[in-house]
């Protein structure tokens, strides 16, 4: 089977939603599962981080963050100039695509483990670093033409948002405690991880099914964008991964980070920072198109490309 079986839970949720099943996962469970996933991903990254010298990571991180800043700029240019979307909508969607999807990253990591492909555990640091710069770029793009930006509430929303707090918090705890210190927690955070991920994907399937109406509002251009943009992002990620001499697994994860669009941190931040942007468009594209695209087609595709690329060089 070329894809990660945990995705079947996503398809089940999607199917249940489309069939108007009475299956409903309460919003509080969504909150609880996302808190668990963010914290567990942070912790795992922190444990891995302890194995690497921090100084050597700083240079890599700078390259990754700079390259990733191109993504919202490209996305904005395409949406605003070619798609003729209003500036606010183009900027908000660009911010979603520039930021990253934690769950897509988790599914990709679990895909790699199943294929027995090793990857650098510290990639989680890049996940954290790529979460928010694009949101700031999105706001600058939206506000270039006119007046005031509510920077205070926006930065507060992003930096104190649960995804940053839990990812960074988990990373620090994992790093300080080290593999031995975290061992007593392994059962909860490592062993149960995949089960919780499956549960979360079931929920996301239901959510995607409930947002399918948004896709009609989005129109053909945005639907095409939702598939073309992750491919462009992944190509950039593969190149940067190669440039940095990452392993095949690490290159795949970087491609997935560059290809994915945020739907946890970005929607809340953009709602406050760019209120006039229509959230149905950004969420419709990021969650309705790009998320399933990456899960079903993207991850195995980027893996295939990374393997070929590694053979070439």
């Amino acid at each position: 089977m070329p894809f990660e079986p945990v995705i079947l839970f996503f398809l089940l949720g999607l199917l249940a939603g489309v069939a108007r099943s009475d299956l409903k996962i309460p919003g509080v469970l969504y909150e609880s599962l996302s808190i668990f996933l963010l914290l567990a991903i942070g912790l795992k990254g922190g444990i891995e981080l302890a194995r690497y010298p921090l100084a050597s990571l700083a240079g890599q991180a700078l390259v990754v963050v700079t390259a990733a800043a191109l993504i919202p700029l490209i996305a904005f240019a395409v949406l605003y100039r070619m798609g003729r979307l209003p500036r606010a909508d183009a900027a908000s969607i660009a911010a979603h695509y520039g930021s990253v999807s934690v769950v897509t990253f988790a599914v990709a990591a679990s895909f790699l483990s199943r294929m027995e492909v090793a990857y650098e555990g510290y990639l989680v640091v890049f996940l954290v670093l790529l979460e928010f710069p694009a949101l700031v770029i999105g706001v600058i793009l939206a506000r270039r033409a006119e007046g005031q930006t509510r920077w205070g509430p926006m930065l507060h929303e992003v930096l104190s948002g649960k995804s940053i707090v839990l990812l960074v918090g988990g990373l620090l705890i994992g790093w300080l405690a080290g593999p031995e210190g975290i061992k007593p927690l392994d059962r909860l955070f490592i062993d149960l991880f995949k089960g919780v991920l499956a549960f979360f994907l079931l929920e996301m399937g239901l959510v995607v099914a409930s947002r399918l109406g948004d896709l009609r509002k989005a129109g053909a251009f945005l639907i095409g964008f939702g598939m073309a943009m992750p491919l462009a992002g992944a190509a950039l990620g593969l190149l940067v991964g190669n440039l940095l001499d990452l392993s095949v697994g690490g290159t795949v994860l970087l491609a997935v980070l560059f290809a994915s669009a945020s739907y946890i941190a970005a929607p809340a931040a953009m709602r406050i920072a760019i209120p006039e942007a229509n959230p149905a468009l950004s969420i419709g594209a990021a969650l309705g198109i790009t998320f399933p695209f990456n899960l079903l087609i993207g991850i195995p595709l980027y893996h295939g490309m990374a393997v070929r690329l590694a053979g070439e060089f």
Binding site: K24, I25, P26, G27, Y30, E31, P153, E157, E203, L206, V207, S210, G213, Y263, P267, A268, R271, I272, P275, E276, P279, I283
Partner: protein, 102 residues
């Protein structure tokens, strides 16, 4: 003797959950001493607000306050929130005990 009831205004706002933080800070700025927030679900002009996940979650905010503060709050909602956010706002006349608390 029956307890003394005082007339008061009750403002109810049903809006997207994302507005909780900004609206609560507006309340603080206007000196409103308290409010009550409950999770809400329903349907309206903005489609199905089913609360499955944060972007489709609604909240219901209730505030008891005196007329002058209420006017300031309504003006603020009209000027800054109605255009870009989904909100339902209504005011009812209610009676309260201990009027000095609101």
């Amino acid at each position: 003797m029956a307890p003394k009831l005082h007339p008061c205004r009750l403002l109810t706002v049903i809006c997207e959950a994302d507005l909780e933080r900004p609206l609560v800070s507006e309340f603080h700025r206007l000196g409103i001493s308290g409010h009550t927030i409950t999770d809400a679900r329903g349907q309206g002009r903005h489609g199905d607000r089913d609360g499955l996940w944060p972007p489709s979650a609604n909240i219901r905010i209730e505030v008891l306050c005196e007329a002058s503060v209420l006017d300031a709050l309504l003006t603020l909602l009209e000027q800054h929130y109605f255009k870009s956010y989904s909100l339902v706002v209504f005011v009812s006349d209610v009676s309260v005990l201990r009027a000095d608390r609101f």
